[in-house]
């Protein structure tokens, strides 16, 4: 007969040993890894925080209501959460170095998600970041733009208002669920007009196994509560008389659409051409809306371009990579300004084309998706 008693003794013993070790580690965590209460002094003492040490600076500040821009949610892969740390940060971690320039080094600029709070710190937080707030919202609608991009409309609760410039992004807080034990943040550009302060629209593209996109595609329903914080970013329309070139791909549509709606709202009638790159017709979206805008905004032209149209698409429009379309379209760029949003590959390739056509770097603005 199978010795059932011995079987349970075995399991019990292994579990007991594991439990004892777990208790030991918990004790070690509370003693060795306990850095106690730590003071953080912000902007030469204009603000003082007392926090529990041992966690990354970025999440420590977030829990204190100070939101530092970050697109990757603290994984060290976007390089946005830079902060000057005057003292108390220790040496640079190898994970910071790819993002730190010589100038950053001189100014003691650190990646706040990679710096742990262990001792008293002096940091510098730009004043405008204090205006970044957390907002509670309700999902008002979810719409399929393509097979892999959804438009999510979030309505702010309690008649709050989100004041933002067109082109800015917010962070979407994904609560803990089966893919993540802790809440995580992901950045999405706002695609709605800044005139609507009571709601924001985001365009979210499915990333296979992405923590946020899986949550949005499989769990999020109309009526759910979502926390966002923001607005963040440096991407917005500059005041000038130059002709505008917009370039976007995929969900890079979002900030450009917001800027176009803002132009309509504010009566800006600069000549503008919007190149939108996609693979095939099934990747195109909001074409109707763009055609509507063409009627309302004199001088605005929407140019969708397909790199791999499928046989059934019957595509009559522009064909080829966005870079090929751009170089076909322009001879010299001497009175232009360019705004790009999309994947790093597309942006870098497009910037090369622009530079070759004589557009100086300081007139090229972009929002790279990390």
């Amino acid at each position: 007969m199978f010795p059932i008693g011995a079987f349970f003794i075995g399991i019990g013993t292994a579990a007991a040993i594991a439990a004892v070790l777990a208790v030991l580690l918990a004790i070690a965590d509370a003693t060795i890894a306990n850095y106690g209460e730590v003071k953080i002094s912000i902007n030469n003492g204009s603000k003082e925080l007392t926090v529990d040490g041992g966690r990354p600076l970025l999440s420590t500040l977030t829990s204190e209501g100070i939101f530092i821009p970050s697109a990757c949610g603290g994984r060290g892969s976007c390089g946005l959460c830079k902060l000057a740390v005057k003292s108390g940060a220790g040496e640079y971690a190898p994970t910071e170095l790819p993002w730190i320039t010589e100038a950053d080094r001189k100014a003691n600029v650190r990646l706040s998600c990679q710096v742990k709070v262990k001792r008293e710190m002096q940091i510098v937080v730009p004043e405008e970041l204090f205006s970044i707030k957390q907002y509670e919202t309700t999902v008002a609608s979810i719409r399929d733009l393509t097979y892999d991009i959804k438009e999510v409309t979030l309505k702010l609760k309690d008649s709050q208002a989100l004041d933002f410039k067109a082109g800015r992004y917010v962070q979407f807080v994904v609560p803990a669920y089966e893919l993540t034990p802790d809440p995580v943040y992901r950045a999405y550009s706002i695609s709605s007009s800044p005139a609507r302060k009571d709601q924001v629209e985001l365009e979210i593209r499915l990333v296979p196994n992405g923590i946020c996109t899986t949550y949005v595609f499989q769990h999020l329903k109309v009526g759910d509560s979502v926390n966002i914080n923001g607005p963040y970013g440096e991407f917005h329309l500059r005041d000038s008389e130059r002709d505008l070139i917009f370039v976007a791909g995929g969900s890079g549509m979002a900030p450009i659409k917001s800027i176009l709606l803002d132009m309509l709202e504010r009566g800006i009638r600069r000549k503008a051409t919007y190149f939108f790159g996609a693979r095939a017709v099934r990747d195109l979206f909001l074409v109707e809306e763009m055609r509507e805008l063409e009627k309302k905004l004199p001088g605005f032209k929407f140019v969708p371009a397909l790199s791999n149209p499928e046989p059934g698409d019957n595509w009559e429009g522009e064909k080829g990579l966005i870079t090929e379309v751009l170089s076909r379209h322009f001879e010299r760029l001497d009175h232009h300004e360019a705004y790009l949003c999309g994947s790093p590959g597309m942006i870098d390739a497009s910037i090369k084309v622009f530079k070759a056509k004589g557009l100086p770097e300081e007139l090229i603005f972009f929002d790279k998706f990390a």
């Binding site: 003794i9 075995g10 013993t13 292994a14 070690a28 965590d29 890894a33």
Partner: protein, 198 residues
Amino acid sequence: MNWSAVGPAAVFFGAIFTNNILLTNYLGMCSFLAISREVKSSLGLGAAVVFVMGMTNALNWPIHYFILVPLKLEYLGFIVYIIVIAASVQLVEMVVERVSESLYQNLGIFLPLITVNCAVFGAVLFMFIRKYTFLGSLAFGLGGGLGWALAIVAMAGLRAKMARARVPRGLEGAGIALIIAGIMSLAFMGFSGMIPAA
């Protein structure tokens, strides 16, 4: 051979020189090849391995003889030993982070990877196969760790010299490193007459 009759001191030095776990048993090769590019980080990793090996041997010995053997649970050994190793590594990680931030950053991912360093597990298995006493096991753990550290630091030194040598293209990197490790283990065989009992 009757290993249990060997005194702790002989076991200690034997584990460093004559029975070097890396050079005679070829255990722990992956981190040996990956971290031996720089003397500084190989020293740090070596120190961490010394600590983990000493600690896991000291913990696993009483668990084996006072818990598993009386309950006739030796078949659970592998699982229990690896749990103990994993917990020890966690502890080492916390200590290293607290004590030396730069070492912590230098070791990076290889610190948690000591958990699956086969040399650490090998040391645990050898101490039971050879039926060492508790002191012998502790000596074997510390000595084995030191031997591993000695081998990786020596290797890092050789590789630093080799940076300027002309190595045939097909042998660059791991290839030449393995050949050097082989020659090193031949050299260590010369120690075998030194400690006759071990």
